[in-house]
Symmetry: C2
Subunit: 321 residues, 2 copies
């Protein structure tokens, strides 16, 4: 039985499917097992754990598979592809986590929740799709898809043409009630995979799927607030957030108040599509009443929990008290 | 708020992906919506509903997509493909069900549970794989896969070579505890899709994936018993079960005791891979203490619930009382 404090951790799909590997199932499973060993650090500290994973490379692979088989099998839209990746990745992580818990004689049970997340149809992102997904196409195939499917295609530095899709903000976690009840009932919940299956509410108040991707950092911040998580951890590929990253005057951040972080954010220290959304997610979570957000790497998670690594973002109250 | 009685319904993946259609996402969604309108008949009678869907044609499509992209993306094993189909089909059914419930002003909430189901590694089925899955291969590719992956391949009446996999019996629904708690908390649960993701417990008591398919009829019977369902419905393409099906002396069955049904089963009235597993699942459920099993078609579900169609299998006690 875990304590009453909830920790939510978010990490990218590249934690399982690494650029340096071939992306086989065996490799992904091994990486899932490694990730789960690391996550035990949180569980051992008595937290109830909620896992949000990204799915960038995995959904990319599904889109490539659908395109390769396009003359034989009708391809699915992006929302359904996200649902598929929630299935496969949820299964890999859930099995690895359950086994790790059993190895360490913990009775904590794990569940993967297929999660729909609604977005606002009028989100500015729909006016200007920016997020490249799926395979590189030839000019011919690209023009076909542009015409037939009304896809927005962009040329990608000589490597071919790629589809770009909108990345709207998450508005509502459709399955939130179930997630809350499962946490209450002492389940380790894997939810909102890939930022959630993108849906929107139509004029009749009914849900429809929509072709978009939702940033898992924003969704995880929304979920962390909604479940009153005491701790929100975002894993990335560096140990700490830095000011002037990669420049001679680079400065690692240790503990910062949310107001300081907002100032740094406005000063454009954190690039979009990389550290930007993570810092923004952490700020949003603290501003909605969250206690503590940590941005760190998987390798340094233990030290970050001990307070000797990672960047902690705290409310001013937490720093003063 | 639903009553306390639980009904479990099982239907095949062909309820969404029909042989007479092209299998597009639009068609599958439309079929899901139609299925959910039919399922309202059960909900309106006050039952808490649990849905188990098959995934035959859907997982077949995933396997074809993986094979078509095999030179680009490493394909997944069958257990992970089942997990993917649980994601996509769960999403389609869940969204359709939620919308239908909203249309009918019901506050009942829906959740899809990625479900692992363990099998016995020593199940006789592993000695003789019989279930064909996925694409037809040329003789050359077939021999390659036979050698590289140790797949068992069979020639399929001139159409090429196909992989056959074992279809072992389900032993344990790994996520049962969560399913029970979600039903308790008034969720309509979609679980055990495709009969469940096949796993087995290794010598260390840890779960591993295994290349197999589990019959959704057997898994749904196991789940119906485990959650103490009052009613277990199996949908098929005929209104009733028949003796001497398709013969001049064909006789439709209306209400039968489990003992009568066992006699008919032993007399081999019900072909394997078709009505056989459905009848066997119904018998197993009643023998484990279940009250009432109905085998009918989606079109006749309303009438079957009213008692004017379908084949009901009852315990002797239920018939006498």
């Amino acid at each position: 039985m875990q304590g009453n404090k909830i920790a939510l951790i978010a990490f990218g799909g590249n934690a399982l499917l690494k650029e340096t590997e071939r992306g086989t199932q065996g490799e992904q499973l091994k990486n899932a097992e490694k990730a789960c060993r690391v996550l035990m650090q949180i569980i051992k500290r008595g937290y109830k754990l909620v896992i949000v994973h990204g799915n960038g490379p995995q959904v990319g692979n599904i889109l490539i598979q659908m395109e390769e088989a396009v003359t034989k099998i009708p391809p699915f839209s992006l929302d359904t592809c996200v649902a598929m990746s929630q299935g496969s990745m949820g299964y890999m992580l859930e099995r690895a986590m359950r086994n790790q818990l059993r190895k360490e004689k913990q009775s904590y049970e794990v569940l993967t929740v297929i999660t729909e997340v609604s977005v606002d149809e009028k989100d500015e992102a729909f006016k200007k799709p920016t997020k490249p997904v799926g395979p590189f196409f030839t000019r011919y195939r690209s023009s076909m898809l542009q015409k037939e499917k009304k896809w927005v295609m962009v040329e990608d530095s000589g490597r071919g043409y790629r589809r770009v899709v909108p990345s709207p903000r998450p508005v509502e976690i459709v399955n939130l009630d179930a997630i809350i009840k499962l946490i209450d009932q002492d389940f380790l919940v894997i939810a909102c995979g890939g930022g959630g299956i993108p849906v929107f509410k139509n004029a009749q108040g009914l849900y429809e799927g929509i072709e978009a991707v939702i940033d898992k950092d924003y969704t995880s911040a929304l979920l962390a607030s909604a479940i009153n998580a005491e701790l929100f951890i975002i894993l990335t590929n560096v140990e700490r957030v830095a000011l002037n990253y990669g420049k001679p005057d680079q400065q690692w951040l240790n503990v910062v108040t949310v107001d300081e972080m907002k100032t740094y954010y406005k000063e454009k220290h954190f690039p979009a599509g990389s550290m930007g959304p993570k810092v923004e997610a952490a700020i949003a979570y603290i501003e909605r009443g969250g206690k503590e957000a940590i941005i760190t790497s998987a390798d340094k998670l233990k030290e970050a929990l001990d307070g000797t690594s990672g960047t902690r973002i705290l409310s001013l109250n937490a720093v003063v008290s």
